[in-house]
C-alpha cells in the first residue's frame, strides 16, 4: 500500500509524457488526487502511537538500508505535499503551462522527491531524495520561468547543491562510526561535542540554505521572482518545509550534543532573518518579492522555534509549517491572478481591483488575514506556540521575533491595500475563474478549520514529537 507513494508519482510522471495534449490537465489532477488518496489511506491505517511505521526495511548496499516509513510528523508533511500538488496544478488550470507534458511530468517527479524525503528513515536515502527534488524544480523554472531567469537559477542550483554537499560530508562523517545509515543506528553514535558541532554544521548549512536562514538567503528572492508561479508555489510551499522537517527529524536527533553550541547562533540568525525579511518586504514594489521576503521572515521564525527544542514550540512549528505551506501557495496565486490580468506585479501600477472583482477581494483579504495570523486561523495557533517557546527561552529573542506579528501586518496589508484599493487603474479586471476560486476557497477553509480545531494536526504530531524529544535529553541538560 505505502509503496504506492513511490509508484504512483513515477507512473504518472512517465505516463503523462505520452498522453494527448488535451488530456494533460485532467490527467495531472487525477494523478495528484490519487496520491492524495494514498496518503489519506496511510493516515487512516496509522494507529497514532507516535512510533515510526517502517513499510520497507532491508539492508542494501554498503551500509545503506532500504528503510522507509512514517510517523505522525512524516504523515503531516506527506499530507501537506499531497494537498498542495493538486492545488498547484488546479491553480495553473487556466495557463497554457498546464497543457505542457514536461511540466506536469516534472511536478510529479518533484512530488516523488518530496515524498521520499519525508518517508526516508535512512540517512543516505534522505540525501538522495533531497537532491532529487532539486532537478525538477530547477527544470520547471528554467523552462517556464521569466525571460531573465538564467543567472538567478544557476545561483540557486549551485548554492543549494553546495549546501547539500556539506550535508553529504557530515553524513559520511557520521556513518564511519555507525553500522548503517538507518536512522536509529545513526542516532546511537555518540560524539564529543566538538565533532558533533562540525557535523551538525554540515547539516545546518544544507538546511539553512534551503530554508533560507539569514545570511544564506541571497538566492531566494530572485529565484522566487523569476520562477513561474507553479515553481514558486512548490519552492515556498513545500520545498522549504523539507529543511524544517530535516531539522526536526535529522539534525537535532542525530547530534543532540551539538545543540549546546548551535542553539544560540541559529536562533539569532533566524531571528535576524525574521526581522530583516519583514523590513525588506515592506519596501518592495514587486508584489512577488513582497511575499518572497515575507516567506523568509515566516520560516525564519519556524527555524528559531525548532531550535528552542521545546515541546510546545515544536508542536507550534508543525502547525505553522502546514499553515505557511497553504497560505504561501494562496498568496502567490493571488499575485499570479493579478499578473495574469494586468501583466504587471508592480504595486505602484495597481489599484482599485476590489470594486471590479469583489470575490477576489474577499478571498485575498481572507488570505492576508491568515498570513498575519489573526485568531481563528491556524497561523495564530502556530505563531502563538512558537513565540511562547521563544519567550521562555529568552525574553529578548522572543520580543524581537514577536515583531513579526506587527511587521507582517504592515507588509501584507500594504500589498493588499495598494493592489486592491485606491483609484481604479484598469478598465476591466475579470473576477475569479472557478479554478482560482476553488484553490483559494480550499486554502481558506483549511486554514480556518485548523485554526478553530488545531488538534487535527497536533493530535497526529504530538505523540511522534514526544518520542523525538524523549530520544534526546532535554535542552536544559545540554
Amino acid at each position: 500500500m505505502a509503496l504506492l507513494l513511490f509508484i504512483l508519482p513515477v507512473f504518472f510522471a512517465l505516463s503523462v509524457l505520452i498522453i494527448p495534449k488535451q488530456g494533460v490537465r485532467a490527467y495531472g489532477i487525477i494523478g495528484s488526487l490519487a496520491v492524495l488518496g494514498v496518503v489519506i489511506a496511510c493516515m487512516m491505517q496509522y494507529n497514532n502511537d507516535g512510533t515510526v511505521h517502517l513499510f520497507v526495511n532491508q539492508p542494501w548496499l554498503a551500509g545503506i538500508t532500504m528503510s522507509f516509513g512514517y510517523d505522525g510528523i512524516s504523515l503531516i508533511m506527506l499530507l501537506l505535499t499531497a494537498v498542495l500538488v493538486p492545488l498547484v496544478l488546479v491553480s495553473n488550470f487556466k495557463n497554457e503551462l498546464a497543457e505542457n507534458r514536461l511540466f506536469t511530468s516534472m511536478v510529479f517527479f518533484m512530488q516523488l522527491g518530496l515524498i521520499g524525503v519525508f518517508i526516508s528513515m535512512d540517512g543516505l536515502w534522505f540525501y538522495v531524495f533531497w537532491e532529487i527534488t532539486l532537478i525538477p524544480i530547477f527544470l520547471i523554472s528554467w523552462w517556464f520561468g521569466a525571460p531573465e531567469r538564467k543567472a538567478a537559477l544557476m545561483k540557486f542550483f549551485i548554492y543549494t547543491f553546495v549546501g547539500s554537499l556539506a550535508m553529504l560530508a557530515a553524513l559520511i562523517g557520521i556513518k564511519v562510526n555507525a553500522p548503517s545509515f538507518y536512522i536509529e543506528d545513526l542516532k546511537a553514535v555518540v560524539f564529543t561535542s566538538k565533532t558533533a558541532c562540525w557535523l551538525a554544521l554540515g547539516f545546518f548549512l544544507a538546511f539553512a540554505i534551503k530554508i533560507p536562514v539569514f545570511p544564506f538567503h541571497t538566492w531566494q528572492p530572485d529565484t522566487y521572482t523569476k520562477s513561474p508561479m507553479a515553481g514558486t508555489m512548490l519552492l515556498s510551499g513545500i520545498m522549504l518545509k523539507m529543511a524544517l522537517y530535516g531539522m526536526i527529524r535529522w539534525m537535532i536527533p542525530l547530534f543532540p550534543e551539538a545543540v549546546a553550541c548551535l542553539q544560540w547562533p541559529v536562533i539569532i540568525l533566524a531571528t535576524i532573518g525574521v526581522v530583516y525579511g519583514a523590513v525588506i518586504a515592506i519596501k518592495q514594489k514587486d508584489m512577488k518579492r513582497v511575499f518572497a521576503f515575507a516567506s523568509m521572515s515566516h520560516v525564519g521564525l519556524i527555524a528559531a522555534a525548532i531550535m528552542v527544542w521545546d515541546f510546545d514550540a515544536l508542536s507550534g512549528s508543525m502547525v505553522q509549517i502546514v499553515n505557511h505551506g497553504l497560505v504561501a501557495v494562496g498568496l502567490f496565486l493571488a499575485v499570479e491572478i493579478i499578473e495574469r490580468r494586468t501583466g504587471t506585479r508592480n504595486l505602484n501600477d495597481l489599484g482599485g481591483f476590489a470594486k471590479q472583482a469583489p470575490k477576489f477581494a474577499f478571498w485575498f483579504a481572507a488570505l492576508a488575514f491568515a498570513s498575519v495570523s489573526v485568531p481563528l486561523t491556524s497561523g495564530f495557533i502556530g505563531e502563538f506556540l512558537m513565540l511562547k517557546g521563544l519567550v521562555q527561552f529568552d525574553m529578548i529573542v522572543g520580543i524581537v521575533a514577536g515583531t513579526t506579528l506587527i511587521l507582517g501586518a504592515v507588509y501584507t496589508f500594504r500589498a493588499y491595500q495598494l493592489s486592491m484599493y485606491g483609484p481604479v487603474t484598469r478598465d476591466q479586471f475579470a473576477d475569479l475563474h472557478w479554478s482560482e476560486l476553488l484553490v483559494l476557497a480550499v486554502i481558506i477553509i483549511a486554514v480556518v478549520i485548523l485554526g478553530v480545531y488545531p488538534a487535527l494536526i497536533t493530535d497526529f504530531v504530538n505523540p511522534s514529537l514526544k518520542i523525538v524529544l524523549e530520544t534526546i535529553s532535554t535542552p536544559s541538560g545540554l
Binding site: 548496499l61 538522495v128 537532491e131 532529487i132 532537478i135 523552462w143 544557476m154 549551485i158 559520511i172 564511519v176
Partner: protein, 457 residues
Amino acid sequence: MDALLIVFASGLISLFAAFAKKPWLVVGSAMAGLLAAIIVIIGQLQTGKAFFDFLKYEGLAFDQVALLFSLAICVLTLLIVGIGYERFKENPVHTGEYIGLLLFSATGAMIMTAYTDMFMFFLGLEILSIPIYVMAGSNKADVRSSEASLKYFLTGSFATGVFLFGLAWVYGATGTFKLQEIQLKIQEMDTLSPILMIGVLLIMASFIFKVGAAPFHFWSPDVYDGAPPAVTGFMASVVKIAAFFAFLKMFAFCFGRGELYDFWKGALVVMIVITLFVGNLSALRQVKFKRLLAYSSITHVGYTLLLFVSQGDVAGTLWFYMFSYGFSIVGIIAVAIAVNDSEDRIEGLRGLGKRNPFLAIVGIVALLSLAGIPPTSGFFAKYILFSSAWENASWLVIIALINSGISIYYYLKVLVTIASPAEQEQEKIKLSPLTIAVLTIALVGMLGFSFILPFLY
C-alpha cells in the same frame, strides 16, 4: 583467459572481415566476439572454471577480481563500438582497422587486469597504448587528429620509457619481476633501499601520466579534443579502468608496506589536490565540448586517486566507480557523435531536446551522473568512493566535495544548453537502431546500475 582469446580472435576476424568492404560484417563480428567474451566471463565468474585451463600461463591470473574488471572492459568496449559504428562506417575501407584496433587495445586492457609479473604488465600497457596512438589519428583529414596522435604518441612513449626506467630500479632493488616475489622482497628488507624508492616514484610518475592526472595532464585535453569521439570515449573509460586497476594492484599489493606507503602517499596526496583543482578550474571556462570532457575526466581521475589512500574493498569500489563512470561517458560521447558539430562547441548542443528528445534525456542523465547527483549511479559510486577514503583522509574528502561543488557549474552549463531551445529551427537527429540499443543500455546502467548491484554481490 578464455575471454582474452575470444576478444583477440574477434579482433583478427574483424580485421579480415574488412576485406568484404561491408562495415556491418566487421561490426557484427566484433560485437559477437565481445558478447561471447562477456558470456564466457559471466560463466567463469559463476562456475569458477575456464575452458582453456590447460593454457595456464604464470604471468596472467584471471581471478575473480580480474574477471570482474575484464567484464567491465568488454561491456564498455562493446558499447563504444556500438556508438562509434556510425562514424567508423563513413570510411568503409578502414572500418575493419578501427574496430580491430579497438579490440586489440581492449585485449591489452584485459592483460593489464590479470598480470602477475611486471613483464606482462608492460606488454599489456603497450598493447593497450599503441592501437590508441593510431586510433587517435584515424581522422586523417583533420589536422587536429594528427596532432593528437603525434602528441599522444610522443608523450605516451616517453611515459612508457619512464615506467621502464622505474621498473629497472625496482628490479635492481628486488631482483625479480614477479609481483609476489617483489612484495616478499620488500617485506623482508630491513630498511627500504633508496633504489626502490626512486623506482616507485618513477613508476608512479608514469602512472599519473597514463591516467592523465596533474601535473602530467597536459596531453589529455588536446588528445581528447583531437581524437575521433569514439576513441575519446574509449580512452576515458576503458583505458582508465585498466590503468587504474593495474596500478592499484601494483601499489596496494607490492608497494603497500608501511614506510613505503607513507613515502609515496605524500606525493600522491599533493597530486590529488592539484589534479582536482586543475581539472575543475580549467573546465569552468571551456567552450568546446570534448575539451570540457577532458578536464572533467581529469577531475574524475582526481576522485579516483582517492582510492589509493582508502581502505576496505578498494578494488570493488574502483570497479563500481569506473563502471558507472564508463556508462556516463558512453552517453556523453553518443551525444557528441550524434550532434556531429565539426567545431565541437558546447553551444552546438543547444536545442538537442527538440532535435532528439531521447538523446537529450541520455545526455542530461549522463551529465547528472558525472556530476554525482542522485539517483544516478554516479552518485552512489562517488559516495562509496568518498566514504571509503574518509577514515584515512577526511580532509581530502572534504576537498573533493568542494570540488564536486565547483564542478556542478560546468555540468549544469552543458545541461541547460541541452535543455534550452535553439534560436533557429534545426534538423532532427535520426539515431540508428544500434545506437538506440546502446544508449538504452547506458541509460539503464546510469539509472539502475546501483540498484542491480546488491544482487550481483
